[in-house]
């Protein structure tokens, strides 16, 4: 069997080169993600065996299990999967744009911006009794706006005859630190209710996900993911450097801006529904590169499934390992992610 498959349809109007080995890898990861999905849905205070879970998913399951699964578990696991996929793709895009494996939503200050927006939202829209004066449904929008504003801000502050990747990283780190300080300030000077709520949310949790959340998150994420896949060629060419990309006829600055905004949107929508689940955007694309290389045709699906699996597992551990306590998924992604980040820093210290 040859290493590649030429996919040509409609008399050559559509053509694609598929790397068989990479396709095998991301298909396997997709299957693993599905397995984790099913098992995760089955685990909790009430243990449901995987076969029953599949029956429930097909609408053929027993009443009690169907209730538990559809009311409590499915929304949250779907959110975990979607957020994992979105953050992983966003991280892959950022790493391609900045041409640095350390680039990620946290490092570039985008998650930080969303966090400030959320805590700010909770500060502004609270009354004396420490309850919200507006519907909590507005919170996701605030997070999304915070992420987007920070994305645009970091971009424009980095502008100097275009956006050199190093500047983007340095300014991102600076802004990120500033946002963290600001967030802590808001939490410390605000009412106590807010601080603990905000804290849980900021660590990253899918606790309390409901079908309304899913109805907003999933279609939005799907659209953004499709856009990312359509941008594969632009991503590939940007990785070769500005000069080469321009020489190949790419409109480098325009595409860089649009891709940055796409990444910000993916991060914003994730942060809105699950808080800042850290390090997924760093680890997933990095692991994916080890498996399938740097070409985005394979990198996007591979990172996506790794990200989905990571967040689903983190959430699973968080809600079952310390039962009846619920530990936010973000704790575990940080638990693996922070040492991984330090290991990366250590490895690249000589280059």
């Amino acid at each position: 069997m040859s290493k590649y498959k030429n996919l040509r349809l409609f008399n050559g109007k559509m053509s694609l080169l598929i790397d068989r080995k990479a396709a095998f890898i991301y298909t396997t990861l997709a299957i693993i993600a599905f397995v984790v999905f099913v098992i995760s849905t089955g685990l909790g205070e009430m243990k449901i065996n995987p076969l029953t879970v599949v029956k429930v998913l097909l609408g053929l399951g027993p009443e009690m299990e169907t209730l538990v699964i559809t009311s409590f578990r499915l929304p949250r696991i779907i959110v975990a999967l979607t957020v994992g996929i979105s953050l992983a793709i966003a991280g892959a895009i950022l790493q391609g744009l900045v041409r640095n494996p350390l680039a990620s939503p946290e490092v570039l200050g985008i998650s930080g911006g969303a966090a400030v927006a959320v805590v700010g939202f909770m500060s502004i829209f609270s009354d004396q009794n420490h309850s919200l004066t507006v519907s909590i449904a507005w919170l996701p929008l605030a997070a999304f706006i915070g992420a987007s504003v920070m994305g645009v801000l970091v971009y424009f502050l980095s502008w100097k005859n275009g956006v050199p990747p190093i500047r983007l990283v340095l300014i991102g780190i600076g802004i990120s630190a500033l946002m963290q300080a600001f967030t802590t300030f808001l939490m410390v000077t605000g009412p106590i209710y807010q601080a603990s709520q905000a804290n849980i949310w900021i660590t990253g949790s899918v606790y309390g996900s409901n079908w309304t959340n899913v109805a907003i998150l999933v279609p939005g994420a799907v659209i953004l993911i499709i856009l990312a896949i359509l941008a594969t060629r632009q991503l590939n060419v940007q990785e070769l450097g500005d000069d080469v990309a321009t020489g190949l006829g790419d409109n480098v600055q325009k595409h860089r801006f649009l891709l940055l905004m796409l990444s910000t949107a993916l991060i914003g929508i994730s942060v809105a529904f699950a808080g800042t689940i850290g390090f997924v955007g760093l680890m997933a694309p990095h692991m994916a590169r080890r498996l399938v290389g740097s070409s985005f045709e394979a990198l996007i699906p591979t990172s996506a499934f790794i990200g989905g699996i990571l967040v689903m597992l983190a959430d699973l551990i968080g809600r079952t390992a310390f039962s009846p306590l619920e530990v936010p998924a973000g704790v575990f992604t940080a638990g693996i992610g922070a040492p991984y980040f330090i290991y990366l820093l250590f490895k690249t210290r000589n280059s």
Partner: protein, 273 residues
């Protein structure tokens, strides 16, 4: 002789520093043109401006009769390819994946691997003798092989004009000759116009049909190396005293600098002029 590229009154500055001043130049079609000059004289800057990587402060660059500023970057990419100095590929990218990128201006999001694309990429790999190495990561290749891979990418782009900014710097002599021989062959066989910046004057004289010496923000002299390169030019452009004598293998000007070194000649024979 028709020109592939022309500059008219071209001025380029970095901030307040004027690097190139009102420079007029005609680059002959189907030939190898080499820019030479002292370090920092602006030869790379000139090449990059011609490649539209740098915007000139004033003046125009004309590509096949049209002002380059009026063409979309994609249209330019179909006529002219540029290999910048020290390009870098992402970790793990294979030779095939790199060379495929050369097809970028010819592709759309729907059509990413047409038969034409496949043919051009295979031809490029063949011309650079990289067929056996196409699955290897670019960063695992030797200096010469890596440079051949980048050249293969520009070949796959399928343009009439090829610009190269110091393609042989940082390569050892064997690999320098490997690359220059390849470019010379491509020019001979396919009549591609090649424009490059070289820092080695002697190699420039050997491979260039047309040599352009840059000094004081302008073209100091241009023409066939054997008509243009002599003692006084080298002194003026590089501030170096040398003997210029015909290369014993090729007959093109060979520049031998005066200075220190072990002189083991019994009789020193000097030709004047």
């Amino acid at each position: 002789m028709t020109s592939a590229i022309e500059t008219k009154n071209l001025s380029i500055s970095y901030g307040k520093n004027l690097i190139i001043h009102e420079l007029d130049l005609k680059i002959p079609k189907g030939e190898i043109t080499v820019f030479i000059g002292a370090n920092g004289c602006g030869k790379s800057t000139l090449l990059r401006s011609i490649a539209r990587l740098l915007k000139p402060t004033s003046g125009t660059v004309i590509l096949e009769g049209k002002a380059i500023a009026k063409l979309s970057t994609k249209e330019v990419a179909k006529q002219m390819a540029i290999l910048p100095q020290s390009p870098s590929a992402p970790e793990g990218l294979t030779v095939l994946q790199l060379v495929k990128q050369g097809r970028y201006p010819h592709q759309t999001w729907l059509r990413q691997w047409s038969e034409e694309d496949e043919k051009k990429v295979n031809n490029a790999l063949k011309a650079t003798r990289l067929e056996e190495l196409k699955e290897k990561p670019v960063d695992a290749l030797s200096g010469g092989q890596r440079q051949r891979a980048w050249i293969a990418m520009t070949l796959a782009q399928d343009t009439d004009i090829l610009l190269l900014d110091e393609p042989t710097t940082y390569l050892d002599l064997t690999h320098q000759i490997e690359i220059l021989d390849l470019l010379f062959e491509l020019n001979e066989k396919e009549k591609r116009t090649v424009v490059m910046v070289l820092h080695d004057l002697n190699l420039a004289c050997r491979y260039a049909h047309h040599i352009v010496a840059i000094k004081n923000q302008k073209v100091f002299a241009q023409g066939k190396p054997e008509h243009v390169i002599n003692r006084s030019l080298v002194k003026a452009v590089f501030d170096m005293d040398c003997e210029v004598t015909p290369d014993p293998l090729f007959g093109t000007p060979l520049c031998i600098p005066y200075g220190k070194g072990r002189c083991i000649l019994k009789e020193v024979v000097i030709s004047h002029g």
